[in-house]
């Protein structure tokens, strides 16, 4: 059964090529069927392989399929080959399964768009590249997928290419992530230079044997890989591109900028966790960046008016939690949150899409409101997603994954009480902005009429994702609820368990209560500010200080402004002043002086014999004088 693995990325690629070549001549139902169907086929094969993996796991819990030898120079020999293990299996499951439903949703959502086939071509290409990213068994193939998803992200953010601001957002995303990629590239070179191989598994085998904990090379290598991860996963300081990336169609935001691509950084760190474990200092950096990002983005989410931008900042913030988990060594917890987040954030984006469609493409939450009666299915599924995002206890998957991260950040040997406190503050903010969104969109007065109700394919997708947003959490329960660890057991063959300090059940229970209490307070604050006393917000932001803070948060803490001044403007300035290449003026100067010399000498050619004779005499005198005296 495992031999079918290559088909998983193959179908999306095939369909993408067909759609690019012939899509413009296809009727929409054909391109839609092709686009969604190919991902469906991949999902089916993935599920078959997954069942096989669970019932009769391959030897060593991993399976490698070599398709062909790619580059072969000396010992640099990456192949086109796939590595299937528990980690990549979870990834390909989420990519194809969530991916399929997002495609299904898109067949209805995008139906009026003239670029229908082009949209599915890009989406398929993306899924193919993302699958290569997680299946690649060497760092170069991983990079192929990594850059491939970056390209598709660029193409899809700029999908509606006629608007210049979309193009700007697309270019920003591409360039910012590629800056991170350069760091990653150097990291790959460093690993290759010192281990002599490019295969991930071999590197992970060799690394602990040649390096001690805290040695320079693993620290440098993991820092460089982290650079790539920060760009792709939109973590501070490279988070600036993701909010603007919302210019793309909403299903794109759901698939690429919430569920899959932006978690590639998390995958990269989990995949190369051995290197990071050899660099405890870098682990701490990962955790701190994660926490910082979670908070910075959370505060920004509080002040957004565009529903998609709220979700974008929320995504940045939630990936921050995943980084926190990775940073304290709880790799499985990070992956668990990746999975639940993929379900509920895709659900939220798709729900937001349904709402935006229903309200004449209105994205401003302050012009929405009171639509829960008219769109009950959208309301309930959206509420389920929000509950999961805010981590409402017991009934949501987000609760289990976030609690796990908070608990590990406290109890891990790499953890700290501060991590827990700040993480809980983040959860508190999450609850506020999430329910702010719910209250603004579904409650209060109606400001825009509902014109268009979602059809069956959209509703089906929302229901399926809502279902998984609820049940996906039950495969990993905390100690206080029976310590059911199906997910981390499954991951144990790839990702090691966290070394933790022993704490009593009581401590864990207490921390859960604290976090839950904060969430409850957060929801109440949202209720108070946006339902009970909506004027309070205006009063708060009316003062100059309040307004300043509001602008600061809503502009994403001034990162864009800073980068524009420090990087963008100088580059543009230098390019502009030297457009005509000053080096060329050197050659022009040579040409010019030759020309001047030529003119001067021309002047001596007067045609007057007297003049020539005189020059001759003077010249002869000079020569004779020199001959005599020297």
């Amino acid at each position: 059964m495992y031999e079918l693995l290559w088909l998983v990325p193959f179908f999306p690629f095939l369909s993408a090529v067909v759609l690019i070549a012939f899509g413009s001549r296809m009727p929409k139902p054909v391109s839609g069927t092709l686009g969604a169907g190919s991902i469906g086929l991949s999902a089916i094969i993935t599920i078959i392989i997954g069942i096989n993996f669970l019932t009769s796991p391959p030897e060593g819990y991993s399976y490698t399929q070599v398709l062909w030898s790619w580059i072969n120079v000396g010992n640099f020999s990456p192949a086109i080959s796939f590595h299937l293990d528990a980690l990549s299996l979870v990834m390909i499951f989420v990519i194809t399964f969530v991916g399929f439903f997002i495609h299904l949703y898109s067949t209805e959502y995008m139906i009026k768009d003239e670029g229908y086939a082009r949209f599915f071509a890009y989406m398929n290409l993306f899924v193919g590249a993302m699958l290569i990213l997680v299946l690649g068994d060497n760092l170069v193939l991983l990079l192929l997928g990594w850059e491939g998803v970056g390209l598709c992200s660029y193409l899809l953010i700029g999908f509606w290419y006629k608007k210049p601001e979309n193009g700007y957002a697309a270019r920003k995303a591409f360039v910012v992530t590629r800056i991170g990629d350069i760091a990653m590239l150097i990291g790959i070179f460093l690993l290759f230079m010192h281990t002599g191989t490019i295969h991930i598994q071999q590197i992970l085998d060799i690394a602990p044997r040649i390096w001690v904990e805290g040695a320079t090379i693993p620290v440098a290598a993991s820092l460089l890989l982290l650079g790539g991860a920060l760009g792709k996963s939109a973590q501070v300081p490279l988070q600036v591109w993701l909010p603007d990336a919302m210019a793309g169609p909403t299903p794109t935001s759901a698939l690429i900028h919430a569920a899959t691509m932006v978690t590639a950084g998390v995958y990269l760190i989990a995949r190369t966790h051995v290197i990071f474990e050899l660099a405890p200092a870098v682990m701490t950096i990962v955790a701190i960046i994660g926490l910082l990002t979670a908070l910075i983005a959370g505060f920004s989410a509080l002040t957004q008016t565009d529903i998609k931008r709220v979700l974008a900042y929320s995504t940045i913030s939630q990936i921050g939690y995943m980084f926190l988990a990775l940073g304290v060594g709880a790799f499985a917890a990070g992956m668990f949150h990746f999975m639940t987040h993929a379900f509920f954030k895709a659900l939220l984006f798709l729900g937001a899409g349904a709402i935006i469609h229903a309200l004449h493409e209105e994205q401003n939450m302050f012009r929405m409101g009171g639509i829960r009666k008219e769109m009950p299915a959208t309301f309930w599924t959206f509420l389920i997603g929000c509950a999961s995002l805010a981590a409402i206890p017991l009934v949501t998957s987000g609760f289990y994954s976030k609690e796990l991260i908070l608990w590990k950040s406290f109890s891990s040997q790499l953890g700290s009480t501060w991590y827990f406190i700040l993480g809980a503050v983040g959860a508190f903010i999450t609850a506020i902005y999430t329910f702010r969104m719910v209250f603004l969109v579904f409650y209060g007065d109606k400001k825009t009429e509902v014109s268009h109700l979602p059809g069956t394919r959209i509703l089906l997708t929302l229901v399926v994702l809502a279902f998984f947003s609820t049940v996906a959490g039950f495969i990993e329960l905390p100690h206080t609820m029976g310590n059911f660890t199906l997910f981390s057991n499954f991951m144990a063959s790839v990702l090691p368990a966290v070394p933790v300090f022993d704490y009593s059940l009581g401590t864990e229970f207490l921390l859960q209560v604290i976090a839950t209490f904060l969430v409850a307070v957060g929801i109440y604050i949202a209720y108070y500010l946006y339902i009970k006393k909506p004027e309070t917000v205006n009063e708060l932001t009316a003062s100059p200080a309040g307004e300043g803070i509001y602008t600061f948060f809503s502009s994403g803490w001034g990162f864009d402004w800073l980068y524009d001044k420090v990087f963008v403007q100088p580059v543009i300035f230098v390019s502009r002043i030297n457009k005509r290449d000053f080096i060329d003026s050197i050659y022009h100067a040579i040409a010019f002086s030759t020309e001047v010399l030529h003119r001067l000498l021309t002047k001596t050619q007067t045609g007057k014999v007297r003049w020539y004779a005189m020059v001759l005499v003077v010249g002869a005198i000079i020569v004779i004088t020199l001959a005599v005296f020297l």
Partner: protein, 523 residues
């Protein structure tokens, strides 16, 4: 004889094309295609034959040789030889040659016969450069490329063609002169030392040259090849020549003429003057990095589409310079893949630029924009080549640049970091091209036809070639490997001797050199 045919076909084909120009415009085109197709077929045949016996050829420098006395009194012979490196470059020459004829089909309507004569003679000169292993003959072919190219620009070029053609001619001619002086000096140094006056490459390898003289001679060659490459600061002829040349001229310039510079560095500069080249390597690598970044920066600032692509060539060829002077297997293989992939990707961008100019009579990107909805096929194709140009994995340029960088990393980490920044710069200018021309709001209302069948065939062929190199570069790497191994061995042996601290190292050196000669020169 095969080698001779590789030269005769384009030379005779060119003459026939010229003569047939009297009968109309179609015959010269078909004659040119036919001649180049046979050259391409011959090359492929040699390649397949060689590839099946690749193991046999590991020990032997040349696959095919042809030698005929020319001026024996001066040690000049008509000596042609082919190894894996030249084979790849000739295959590229024939491929891009055919494409150049096809893209000129509609563009060139004036003196068609003479145009094809010039085109084929340029190609003959280029093939000659790749297989001439007598330095005098090499110089002959080196000059033979220039004059028809000069005509191509000055007769069929665009508005500023005189300036561009003369600039091109002066730069290449002046630098060629320095090479000629260096060749002659090498000839006399070798003659004085051994009593054998010869221009034969195999004989000249390992000539014992005083270190200071070696540096000067090496620089003579380096400047000639550096101008062709082109490396900053001798690159300024290129944007003008590229911009003003007709499409076929730009394709041949970017795809092939620049590559003769790279070939010269690999074939002559490092093997003939290994010590001097290694002393100079750091400066050359710095020049490579400067070319990458400075070329990209200039590209970003341009508004003329062809000029922009021309500056990207400066940037991409910086990787080649870097790869050659890093001089290890990874970097050299990378340089060769960049040479081929850049020929295809940049050639294709010039064809697109030419296609746009043919349709709307401007290259000014400030007047374009939003063209995707009018010409979606052209947009898709342009996107593909822009992605190739920014080094998207899966396409040829990535393989080359990645190998150059990883090889370079082994030699100098800091310079690699700067060179890698060139990839970000490439991203910026590549997607800037797409934005300016195809995305955004149309600035002017252009009505134009999309790519036709003839153009699509050319574009698809180039796309498939880039995908092939990107996903299965093995045949190229394997073909180049024996040639590179032998070149590297030669250089390493000389270095090894240098590093040996024994008192009688002078004697050892002679032994090593004669050993090397026996390996390379025995035929």
């Amino acid at each position: 004889m095969t080698l001779l045919w590789l030269l005769i076909l384009p030379i005779v084909g060119g003459l026939l094309a010229w003569l047939s120009g009297r009968t109309g415009t179609q015959l010269p085109r078909w004659i040119s295609i036919l001649a180049l197709a046979i050259v391409f077929g011959l090359t492929l045949q040699v390649w397949f034959q060689y590839y099946s016996e690749i193991d046999i050829f590991k020990e032997q420098a040349w696959l095919i040789e042809f030698e005929q006395d020319w001026i024996p009194q001066l040690g000049i012979s008509f000596y042609l030889a082919l190894d894996g490196l030249s084979l790849l470059l000739i295959a590229l020459t024939a491929f891009l040659g055919i494409i150049s004829v096809v893209v000129s089909w509609k563009e060139i309507q004036y003196r068609v016969g003479f145009f094809h004569f010039n085109l084929l003679w340029i190609l003959a000169g280029i093939i000659g450069v790749f297989i001439a292993l007598d330095l005098f003959l090499f110089f002959f072919f080196w000059e033979m490329m220039l004059i028809p190219m000069y005509f191509l620009i000055i007769i069929w070029g665009h508005e500023d063609k005189r300036y561009a053609a003369i600039k091109f001619f002066l730069f290449t001619q002046a630098s060629g002169l320095m090479m000629l002086v260096a060749i002659l000096a090498l000839y006399f140094v070798h003659g004085n030392a051994t009593g054998v006056y010869t221009f034969n490459y195999n004989e000249l390898l390992g000539t014992d040259i005083p270190a200071s003289a070696a540096m000067w001679l090496m620089l003579g060659f380096f400047i000639a090849f550096g101008v062709k490459l082109p490396a900053v600061p001798v690159h300024t002829w290129l944007p003008d020549a590229h911009t003003q040349a007709p499409t076929a001229g730009s394709v041949v310039l970017a795809g092939l003429l620049l590559k003769t510079g790279a070939y010269g560095l690999i074939r002559f500069v490092v093997p003939l003057f290994p010590e001097a080249a290694m002393q100079f390597a750091f400066i050359a690598m710095v020049l490579g990095v400067v070319s990458i970044l400075y070329g990209a920066k200039l590209a970003f600032a341009q508004t003329d589409f062809k000029r922009l692509v021309a500056y990207t060539s400066v940037s991409h060829m910086g990787f080649v310079l870097l790869g050659i002077f890093a001089w290890n297997e990874l970097a050299l293989q990378g340089a060769i893949v960049v040479i081929i992939a850049h020929g295809l990707s940049t050639g294709a961008l010039f064809i697109l630029a030419g296609g746009i100019q043919e349709r709307i009579h401007t290259r000014d990107m400030d007047r374009m924009g939003g063209m995707w909805s009018t010409v979606p096929r052209m947009g898709t194709v342009a996107m593909f080549f822009a992605m190739a140009s920014l080094g998207l994995p899966g396409l040829g340029n990535f393989v080359g640049e990645f190998l150059v960088l990883i090889g370079m990393f082994m030699e100098n980490i800091l310079l690699t970091v700067f060179a890698a920044l060139g990839i970000v710069a490439a991203t910026i200018y590549s997607i800037w091209i797409i934005q300016r021309i195809f995305h955004g709001e149309p600035r002017e209302k252009w009505e134009m036809p999309d790519l036709n069948v003839r153009e699509m065939v050319v574009m698809v062929a180039m796309m498939l070639a880039l995908l092939w190199i990107g996903l299965y570069p093995k045949p190229i790497l394997n073909t180049a490997k024996p040639a590179l191994d032998i070149l590297q061995q030669g250089v390493e042996e000389v270095q090894m001797v240098e590093e040996m601290p024994s008192p009688n190292s002078g004697d050892n050196k002679k032994i090593f050199i004669s050993f090397k000669k026996s390996q390379i020169g025995d035929h």
